[in-house]
Amino acid sequence: MARKKRAKKVIVGMGTCGLSAGAQSAYDKFEEILDANPGSFELSRTGCFGMCFCDPLVEVRENGARVFYAKVTPELATEIYKSHIEGGKVLEDHVAYSRDAAGEGGTEADYLALQRRIVLRNCGTIDPESIEEYEAAGGYAALKKALSEMSPDEIIEEVTESGLRGRGGAGFPTGFKWSLAAKQDSDVKYVVCNADEGDPGAFMDRSVLEGDPHSVLEGMAVCGRAIGASFGYIYCRAEYPLAIRRLTIAIDAAREKGYLGENIMGSGFDFDIKIKQGAGAFVCGEETALFASIEGQRGMPRIRPPFPAEKGLWAKPTNNNNVETYANVPWIIVNGASAYAACGTEKSKGTKVFALAGKVRRGGLAEVPMGTTIHDLVFKIGGGIKNGKKFKAVQMGGPSGGCIPAAMDDTPVDFESIPATGAIMGSGGLVVLDETSCMVEIARFFLEFTQSESCGKCTFCRIGTRRMLEILTRITMGEGVPEDIEKLEKLGRQICETSLCGLGQTAPNPALTTIRYYRDEYEAHIDEKRCPAGACTALVDFFIDPDKCTGCTLCARKCPVEAISGEKKKPHVIDNDKCVRCGQCVTSCKFDAIYTK
């Protein structure tokens, strides 16, 4: 059909983040407008563009120029249609980001100026449910090249040369890992993709799976060719229903087009992929536990050696990589190892996707060259701290990681510099903390997490983390004793040394790094029974914001000790001498008027 393409295209960002901010109603509105004015524009959807702070995000694309609108409500959708699509006039006040056809200039350009999009090359740009759009963006060219022009050894060499290191946390050289599996002599081998994304605070894998599922499939197929495997598993956590659905669609489409299945593109190479859903256990992100889980058992880590390359899934040679690692592969095959290695630092090549969250103004995904500083991430890309508060620290690496204080924000993010601070790269979750975050409380929070996720196999991990949690809890309650800090350090070291898997080996990190950098905060809790950040409810006072309080009397009625008083329809006050700090007033207030200090 040779119908001329409509000039203007409206693309709604429909990742989980966009949808939870209301992208569906924006999409529905545009659909309604399109029904009423057939042919006036093209409507499409895409994954997460990374600017989650602007969700729902809607792009109007015309001849290569791109305008992104922020926080699009159905009303704004109507306005965009009238002004921009019909009238050709951009609604400047609502633009989140724009770029002219040459890819330069525009609004808020600095958010993307520091970024380099390799993994996220298609996220937020193509429709993830359309294999044709992926192909049009150069998709499956890498697989074609790998199958027709390269030998398995050449593929491995290319990946090795690129300097790509695993993005699942440890930074193991990917090419080397592949070569280990390739060397094994076995009729059956497996390619596994770790999409368990267990670190709370990380969501880049979800965005890639939702926004560009084919890039992961393609990377896995290339890996299969390189190591001589003809079957792959994607282990995806069940909390990501949309990712699982888009992956399912993508696998079906790839099979139909002959990118998966038997004799792919006439090369004689067979490869197919199956999705396995996780069932909610953090330790299953650890690769040997993950294999146990795919095999249908309790997800307990196994002793290594034997390493997965020798005996992995079903005791067969297995290569396991993270989602982001695989998503890099097609780009490397097409653009060459040296193009990839040109980006990054000496020992950490390429880019890394970070999930900015917490107290940062512009939360979302940012893909930057390795070696970018924490300061640039938080301030130039993240736009600084929300509500004019002061930057205190970043938490990196989730429950296995640590806190890096603001004073060290010139630390570059790469596989050497971050571990030197006591934190870890982890999967790239970067939770920004401000002056209202209590470091003892953060340590307690992570210990609570690892304590409940410990599989129970190793004694120190099982019981030691519990003891640490008890100590941290009592410190935040104002019941700590002076020996507690030393006890925490000693227990921490013992747990690190005696645990079998990474969970236990790293579980004490949040406590150990916060003691290292914020000992004074621990001491304030223990010696003065004071929480300097004002976050530990047992140690703070409650106040009512008179500007927000309407005098509805609800909190006064909820308060179990009658500590709240005030006249009807007039701002109320809390008597902190009577208050037992239960927090009921906070949760009952319909106007979010109660705060702590």
């Binding site: 939870s20 605070g201 979800r206 859903q277 999930a355 979302g364 979750g429 009952s588």
Partner: protein, 178 residues
């Protein structure tokens, strides 16, 4: 509606079981999809078909937080207790849900409408604090907006019930991308 094609029915999955290893967790997942939880008889049934001892099946069920041995509400509220949500006030959010629904984490309301659980991270950290109600995600919540949201669900449910029909559809009007 483009439902996921291969969301096979529990019985079909069991019938198709060919002894391939690794099917236990998918079987349990489809049992839970089917019954809303994993009843005693499903454990015996799975065990008799697969030959995996009941105690092992039980061991797997209790290892993974996804599996429930008790019926769940029609709406499963999963409150995020992840890092980003935690520093953005998840505690107050969870307490608000407990207060609004009159249940604690892990429980189900008496009318069988809501079950409250916590999860480690939903992956929408930049919209923290976040909760999921069944497969729908809701972000940027405050105690006040959360109460409104839960009441909206309850109101919709009551409206559907008083009409006497179609409560299933009314409840299923979700914003998950279709």
């Amino acid at each position: 509606m483009a439902q996921v094609k291969d969301q096979e029915k529990f019985t079909y999955r069991l019938w198709r079981y060919d002894g391939a290893p690794g099917e236990l967790i998918p079987l349990l997942q489809s049992a839970q999809d089917h019954f809303g939880y994993i009843p005693r008889r499903a454990i015996s049934y799975i065990s008799s078909v697969t030959g995996i001892p009941e105690s092992d099946v039980y061991g797997v069920i209790t290892f993974y937080s996804q599996f429930r041995l008790r019926p769940m509400g029609k709406y499963v509220v999963r409150a995020c207790a992840g890092t980003a949500c935690h520093v953005s006030g998840a505690k107050a959010i969870i307490e608000t849900i407990e207060d609004e629904l009159g249940i604690e984490v892990g429980d189900t309301t008496e009318d069988g409408l809501f079950t409250l659980n916590t999860v480690a991270c939903i992956g929408c950290c930049s919209l923290a604090p976040v909760i999921m109600i069944n497969d729908d995600t809701h972000g940027r919540l405050t105690p006040a907006s959360l109460r409104k949201l839960l009441r909206e669900y309850r109101r919709r449910e009551e409206a559907a019930r008083s009409e006497g029909t179609g409560s299933q559809e009314a409840a299923g009007s979700r914003a998950d991308g279709e």
